[in-house]
């Protein structure tokens, strides 16, 4: 019996959203009589932080404090249409729609303020603290609340904005087949260090080292939590979980949480993450988003590391001890590959 060390690497380009001309998001923004703003979406936040990021984007675009923005979402009866939370699209698609809606609402807000201050709306700026004032003359000012109330009760204006983000359908070149299905790609590189036991087929992941390029990290702590949790899920896909271990034969599938294996708190490995920020030209404030890409590079990197450790190529997931032992038997034992420092 021996435990063989292995190191594997994978690099990925990950498309943000599914751009075949049918992946729009919409947002509606309106001011309330107390000078606070509601962003209506039907996009879903399952805990990744889409709601928080939409709130940051709306506050930044409107020029108001983040405390004054409320994001009302996850109800398709009350929010405008959204394709959903998939393909790492939330920050990029919803964020862009929120910017468009918030810009329109800001325009009306400044018009209402201009009417009250008897100045030109083009000369007005926001201080991000709830005030609107004439550029270069901070004393000539009105609060966002007063401007909202004047619009509502005196001027008869709705301070609101509509936003949609839709990338037109990419045409296919008839001769070359060339097309641009995606406008923003995120990138990642991940190295896995693990060891494989050639007697039991057990794989122990010892360390993950990764670099992710995902546009501007609009909320760095949430990016980090996505990357940590996503890499765990990637490890789970690579080594543990499946509803049908003998696919297409449905037998022996996990039927409950006991049988549907996932790595527990004792199976996790230290993960050293580097985030590279290269703002995307068409991203909201340069953001693209982590999303699915958090998990994706882990799978090929684990498979490569197992090859590096014992010299067998396993091309179906998850890479269970049974598959490793069968492959080792077929090969006639472990053949550790060259290891680079």
């Amino acid at each position: 019996m021996a435990r063989h060390q292995g190191r594997g690497m994978a690099s990925i380009n990950y498309p943000i959203g599914m751009n075949l001309g049918g992946d729009p998001s919409q947002a509606l923004v309106h001011a309330n009589p107390d000078g606070k703003f509601t962003v209506a979406l039907s996009a879903i936040d399952l805990g990744q932080g889409m709601k928080q990021v939409s709130r940051q984007i709306a506050a930044e675009t409107l020029g108001v404090p983040i405390e004054d923005v409320y994001v009302d979402t996850a109800d398709s009866d009350t929010g405008p249409h959204d394709m959903g939370s998939f393909a790492s699209r939330g920050t990029h698609r919803v964020g862009n729609a929120v910017i468009v809606a918030a810009k329109e609402a800001r325009g009306v807000l400044l018009e209402a303020a201009a009417e009250e201050l008897e100045v030109n709306a083009d000369d007005l700026v926001t201080d991000g603290k709830g005030n609107i004032h004439v550029r270069g003359a901070a004393s000539k000012s009105i609060t966002v609340k007063a401007a909202s109330q004047a619009a509502q009760f005196k001027q008869g204006k709705t301070i609101s904005g509509r936003g949609i983000f839709l990338i037109p359908l990419s045409t296919v070149h008839p001769e070359t087949g060339e097309m641009s299905p995606v406008t923003a790609y995120a990138h990642a590189c991940l190295v896995v260090d693990l060891e494989v036991c050639d007697e039991t087929g057990d794989v122990k992941v010892n360390k993950l080292t990764s670099a992710y390029e995902l546009g501007r990290a609009l909320n760095p702590k949430m990016v980090e939590q996505q990357l940590v949790g996503g890499a765990w899920m990637g490890m789970s896909h690579a080594l543990y979980e499946t509803p049908e271990p003998y696919y297409p034969n449905p037998e022996h599938g996990g039927r409950d949480y006991n049988q549907y294996l996932m790595p527990g708190p004792g199976d996790i490995a230290p993960h050293d993450i580097t985030v590279l920020e290269r703002p995307a030209p068409d991203g909201p404030f340069g953001g693209k988003g982590p999303g699915e890409m958090c998990a994706n590079p882990v799978l090929p990197a684990v498979a490569n590391a197992i090859f590096n450790a014992i010299g067998v190529r396993i091309d179906t997931l998850p890479i269970t001890p049974e598959k490793i032992l069968r492959a080792l038997k077929a090969q006639g034992g472990a053949r550790p590959q060259v290891r680079r420092a």
């Binding site: 399952l46 805990g47 990744q48 932080g49 702590k221 949430m222 980090e224 939590q225 940590v228 949790g229 996503g230 890499a231 765990w232 899920m233 409950d256 949480y257 006991n258 996932m262 527990g264 708190p265 004792g266 996790i268 993960h271």
Partner: protein, 160 residues
């Protein structure tokens, strides 16, 4: 079958309810007493989201019969905060981004509280053991483990 009277303390308040003989503590707490902090996950004791404390010990609400809790003291995540002041574990979970979808959080908090109440200064391995019966799909466990260790450290610093 006749319903049976049960009295216990729930988060410091005396409560009395009539329960079916086979009713689970989780069902009584959620439907009978309206405390929705403990969650219903698998219903067979494998996911840990229903974890509550019975006389300070972590118990799976979905596998505990309500009638066995007569005279006991039950704690759920609803009782952690003191008015507007969060429990150190809740504050640490927030600080360390230890929740994403949040479904496992009430169970994780109670499993962690049981640990810190009996072992105020746990090692990382002891924290891992304490939450080994609680499944999380989002966080990868690392932020949860770090939050519990941080809460323990903070409590220690307050005592010193």
């Amino acid at each position: 079958m006749a319903r049976m009277p049960v009295q216990f303390r729930l988060n410091g308040s005396d409560r009395a309810v009539f329960v079916e003989p086979a009713e689970t503590l989780l069902g009584t707490i959620r439907r009978g007493l309206g405390d929705f902090a403990p969650k219903f996950g698998c219903g067979q004791g494998t996911c840990g989201v229903c974890t509550v404390l019975v006389d300070g010990e972590p118990r799976l609400g979905c596998l505990t019969l309500s009638v066995t809790c007569e005279g006991r003291s039950i704690e759920t995540a609803s009782g952690l905060a003191d008015g507007p002041t969060l429990h150190p574990l809740q504050a640490a979970f927030m600080e360390h981004f230890a929740a994403q979808c949040g479904f496992c959080t009430p169970g994780m908090l109670m499993a962690a509280k049981a640990l810190l109440d009996r072992n105020p200064n746990p090692t990382r391995v002891e924290v891992v053991e304490a939450i080994a019966g609680n499944v999380c799909r989002c966080t990868g466990y690392e932020p949860i483990i770090n939050a519990i260790l941080a809460a323990a450290q903070q409590r220690g610093a307050r005592r010193a």
